[in-house]
Amino acid sequence: MIHFISKRLKHSLVLLFLASLVCFTLVVSAPGNVAVLIAELRGAVATPGYVEQVAEEIGLNKPLLMRYVDWLGDAVRGDFGISYRTGQDVSADLANRMLVTGILIAGSAAIATLISLALGFLGAFWPYKLPDRASRGLALLGASTPTFFVGALMIYAFSVTFQLLPSFGFAGPQSWILPWLTVAVLPAAVLSRVVRVGLEEAMASPFVLTAKSKGLGRTTILFREALPNITPLFINALGTQVGLMTATAIIVEPLFAWQGVGDYFLAGVRFRDFMVVQACLLIFLTFFIVVNLIVDLAVLLTDPRIRRQWS
């Protein structure tokens, strides 16, 4: 167990290092001269002299390796530098924005989990009957509707038509509901299929015949026998979906005027604010890696067969 965790941690650190390289390389190799951009953003005329001065100021003239080491050294200490565009401390901006995105992803993950378990169980309980077909239809619809469209629909339905919920802003739980639902739709659709198919497979296993021969009822078997069997599978799929929510956040945060990391990233890209882009990418990748680590540990805890291999 300890062995597994330490091995997995090392693995994650290597991945993080690679991720930092990727972020750095992407940004360095992006087209356009940053110094010119900054000069223009500062409202100055980009004369060659001034551009050169800017380049010197932000360290563009140093060798690439040095720039990488400088940047990584700062990043590890939580210093992502200064936004080219606003002159603000990127780390300070990020701290606030991570909270916003964290709330978005945590709430959406919880909602997606609840909805997918409910739909999946409905389907598994009445296989090929109306509830199953309905949940299958919903899943297909949810999985094939683009997220921005879902968001627009939510706003139209809940705030414009029924005026139940605020259509934008980040001001307390009421304002969180629509963004949560919007982000949750796609993962809920995908995960409901994972639950439904996983339960069906589990219910066809020989141990379910044993359970039946013991006199257990169908509901008991579904919850007591089949559910623990699909838990590792579900956690895996949930982890993937939560990772992908970072991408969804880039679409949904601007839609609801949430100042999260996704929104920050989008603004950074738009204005070629590479310090911001770099920092956001690194945050996203770190999030991915940490989620994967948590998933692996959770699977370890829920599947005694895997636990055995590592004990």
């Binding site: 044993t210 021969s213 013991k214």
Partner: protein, 331 residues
Amino acid sequence: MHDEPLLNVSNLTVNLLTAKSAVRPVDGVSYSVRQGECLAIVGESGSGKTVMNFAPLGLMPTGVTTILSGSVKLEGRELIGLPEAEIQKLRGKSVGFIFQDPMSALNPVRRIGRQIAEMAELHLTMTPRAAEARALELVKLVGISDPAARLRQYPHELSGGLRQRIVIAIALAGEPKLLIADEPTTALDVTVQAQILRLLKDVQRRLNMGMVLITHDMGVVAGAADNIVVMYAARAAECGPVDKVLVNPRHPYTKGLINAIPRKEDPIGSEFRGLPGVPPTLGAPIRGCAFAPRCELAVATCSRNRPPMVPTGDGNVSVACPVVNQGKAAA
């Protein structure tokens, strides 16, 4: 009440309908099991042994429609026509089941202790704590060493033989009157097979249960069973006390089976061999004797009329073969 058999099956027919096919794997079979008795059911693969025992107790896989006719009485109570909710109450409580493959019969992600104890909670209405104690007793009863530690383990941590002992413990947990063991040793190592069989036989005697033992192994039949039903293509070919049927087989198929036993010592683990031809596929019901295409004694009428099960007059042995029966009568 005293001479009423524990399990009385008469003229049982099972039709299975799936999306693709309709088969009749059990066709008019009768037998009975008394308390403390062991009945062996033998027959080639696909002859309907599993379906015959599982279908009346509602243990068919989903996706199959099961149509039962005839009569199956358990402790005098008719099972055919009984609602599934009622049959569910009998499973585990009145009848315990043991399966062929102990590797897949247990839930891999649940502790063994829970898998046994839930039986006691359900059928003996015990508290979880009392049920754990009961599980410990059962694990001891089936001869497992270090029982307390086993209860905390998961199935994959045990060998096949130990797992089958756990499956037996589960089957015994509801204190059933009847055990149905479907090839309980087929999937195990040869050395373990004899141990498991001895255990089964031992608990059956000690707890005075009835037992249906489905097997391919004539050595097992000789060692464990009181009576035998020989199945061929969904029908019973011959039935009667083991000491009569094995010593003096009458039906050509039974004879073939017994001739196919390797003559050397240690018949345990051997399979049927040496019977020429293949059993028929179960599709439309066969008009005459299902064994006719493979039978040396077949006469023209064999493939025309279905041979009925007829008592031979020799101590409860019945044979479904008019040629043999008439031969006896004439002699």
